[in-house]
């Protein structure tokens, strides 16, 4: 336990001294937040609320980048082997990576939520328990994905290529950038096989539809399963030595990890719950905007009505 905590503390410290961390984990997520809230949502509170889920999901998902890069650098430079000769275990290394990543991601998420509330005045932050749970499980499961990436790549270059390859479908298909309902049916079906979709979807329902954890079991359950699988995978594939080969069983394990999501995807395509819920959310946004517009028009009319008599009095 002490090993775990010392390693976590070290990782947090090192990240805070790293300029790349500042850019990728603070500047970029906040940049996305302002892009979404001020430009895409035009600062309209209901729309900011609608987009808050996807924006937080982007932040949470992005955490696998830094984690995989750090671990691969540690291995390449022979830092891991120095730890290997101490009583620290592979589990200590892996779990401390996830904990540090969690501690480093949470503050930005918190700041984004505060900005949404006090700068953009969103009508509500939805169900806070769901929000906290999803952000937490999302951060640790995507952190765990970073561990797997670090395990299956040999050099920093390979790691960055794989990160890119995973990042693009994660952000474009999951609904985190392009709204899910805008995607074609085929693409929607592909997206249903991605764990990221369930994170974006869950966050949207939690914030915009005010759904409690008991209504979000699909998202929570699938992300938890994914976390356990990726953590198991990374513990099986972990390598201390730079020259150590990826075990042959690696591909088999990676394939096995995909099975639950294949099943989930097939099931979702058949019953279409996510797609239906996404449509409902968009409708709610439309309705909310319409009623807001009506409200404003009414207010305007009231104003002009009350102005009228004054006008008439004037010569």
């Amino acid at each position: 336990m002490t090993n775990l905590l010392s390693l976590t503390r070290m990782r947090v410290r090192l990240a805070l001294r790293n300029k790349m961390f500042f850019f990728f984990s603070i500047v970029m997520p906040l940049g996305f937040f302002f892009l979404y809230s001020a430009i895409f949502a035009k600062g309209i509170p209901t729309e900011v609320q609608f987009l808050l889920g996807p924006v937080l999901a982007l932040n949470v998902m992005g955490s696998f980048w830094g984690l995989s890069a750090t671990l691969v650098t540690f291995r390449e430079q022979g830092i891991l082997r120095r730890f290997h000769v101490t009583p620290a275990t592979a589990t200590d290394m892996l779990v401390s990576s996830i904990l540090a990543n969690y501690a480093l991601t949470l503050p930005t998420v918190f700041v984004e939520v505060l900005l949404a509330k006090f700068l953009f005045h969103v009508p509500s932050l939805g169900n806070l328990a769901s929000l906290i749970l999803l952000v937490s499980i999302g951060t640790i499961s995507f952190g765990s994905l970073g561990l797997v990436i670090a395990s299956v790549t040999n050099t920093m270059q390979e790691t960055q290529v794989l990160n890119q390859l995973l990042w693009l479908p994660l952000i474009f298909l999951s609904g985190a950038t392009i709204p899910f309902t805008y995607l074609s049916k085929t693409v929607q079906h592909i997206a249903l096989f991605l764990p990221a979709t369930y994170l974006v979807h869950g966050l949207k329902l939690a914030i915009f539809n005010n759904q409690g954890p008991n209504q979000l079991l699909l998202s929570l359950g699938s992300l938890t399963t994914w976390f356990l699988l990726t953590l198991f995978l990374s513990s099986q594939l972990f390598r201390w030595e730079p020259e150590a080969k990826i075990p042959r069983k690696a591909k088999l394990y990676v394939a096995a990890t995909a099975i639950p999501f294949l099943l989930l995807g097939v099931w979702e395509i058949r019953y279409g719950r996510v797609i239906a819920e996404e449509k409902v959310a968009v409708q709610r946004l439309d309705n909310a905007e319409k009623s807001e517009r009506r409200q404003k028009q009414k207010e305007k009319q009231d104003n002009t009505d009350s102005d009228q008599p004054d006008d008439s009095k004037d010569p």
Partner: protein
């Protein structure tokens, strides 16, 4: 009765087709500085990494502080300290933080402040690892190796790549450890290091121990024999050269010859006369006092750093 802290018997290790360790055996007693001397790729690092629990052996038995590194690595790691080859610490970790971090891993630990002082790193306590010089990095590595007050310390090529002055600094540190009666296993390809620091040395080549003993015992094999290394304009025969007056034997070495002789002046005179008679010429001549290098050359016919 000496008390062996470390026992290795018939150790083997292969990487694919390469047999790195081919039946190495030795034991190290408490308080002893034991050296594994040999050229790069002789199997020293593999052997040490097996003893540290970093790699699994393919065959043989190993006991370190009474533990089997393969099955009891967890317990073993509390008892050993190590300065590894090709390792590093995170660039942005400060010296004192590194010492504290590593101290935190062990049940038994020494005061990081004392080690900082002892290894002359007090002024660098807040420096990042990346800001340290090669010698400072190595001193920090040694300090970390001692942080758990280990029963056995493994130093894998502790001075490789360091300039001579820094190397001497590290020798002083190790000599001090020796005075503290620490059990140390040291690998090196520097003759001077082995002769100067080790109580006993095993010379390793091609994954095997070719000879072991105290540096003095080993040198006794070539005791009183000076080595004269010559290069000639034309080739000569080893037999003829070894029959010259004052020469005890002759080996072909790196395109030249190494003559071992009891009385060097006489050997040189007879060599020059012989060459004159043959119409051959001397290109270079070097006289070396007996060292472990001679032991290695005699046993393998090669120089240590070929």
């Amino acid at each position: 009765m000496p008390n062996p802290v470390l026992q290795v018997e018939n150790l083997t290790k292969r990487y694919g087709d390469v047999e790195a360790v081919r039946g190495i055996s030795f034991q190290v007693n408490e308080g002893e500085v034991f050296g594994l001397l040999g050229p790069n790729g002789a199997g020293k690092t593999s052997t040490v990494e097996i003893l540290e629990g970093l790699r699994d052996a393919d065959g043989g038995t190993v006991s370190v502080c009474g533990y089997d590194p393969r099955t009891q690595a967890g317990e073993l790691k509390h008892e050993i300290g190590a300065a590894l080859q090709s390792t590093a610490l995170p660039e942005k970790l400060r010296v004192m933080e590194a010492l504290r971090l590593f101290a935190g891993f062990y049940k038994r630990r020494r005061n990081p402040e004392d080690l900082l002082k002892r290894f002359g790193l007090e002024e660098k306590r807040n420096a990042f690892y990346s800001q340290l010089s090669g010698g400072q990095k190595q001193r920090l590595a040694l300090a970390i190796a001692l942080i758990n007050d280990p029963k056995v310390v493994f130093l894998d090529e502790p001075t490789a790549g360091l300039d001579p002055q820094v190397r001497r600094e590290i020798y002083d540190v190790i000599t001090e450890l020796r005075r503290d009666n620490k059990t140390i296993v040291l690998t090196t390809h520097y003759i001077e290091e082995a002769e100067r620091l080790c109580d006993r040395v095993a010379i390793v080549d091609h994954g095997k121990v070719i000879v072991q003993g105290t540096p003095r015992e080993l040198k006794q094999a070539s005791a009183g024999k000076t080595r004269i290394e010559v290069r000639l304009a034309r080739e000569d025969s080893r037999e003829t050269l070894s029959k010259l007056e004052g020469v005890t034997d002759c080996l072909a070495l790196n395109g030249g010859y190494a003559l071992h002789c009891q009385r060097p002046p006489q050997a040189i005179v007879s060599l020059v006369k012989h060459l004159e008679a043959q119409g051959n010429e001397l290109v270079s001549l070097e006289i070396a006092t007996p060292s472990l290098e001679d032991v290695f050359i005699e046993l393998t016919g090669r120089r240590l750093r070929d």
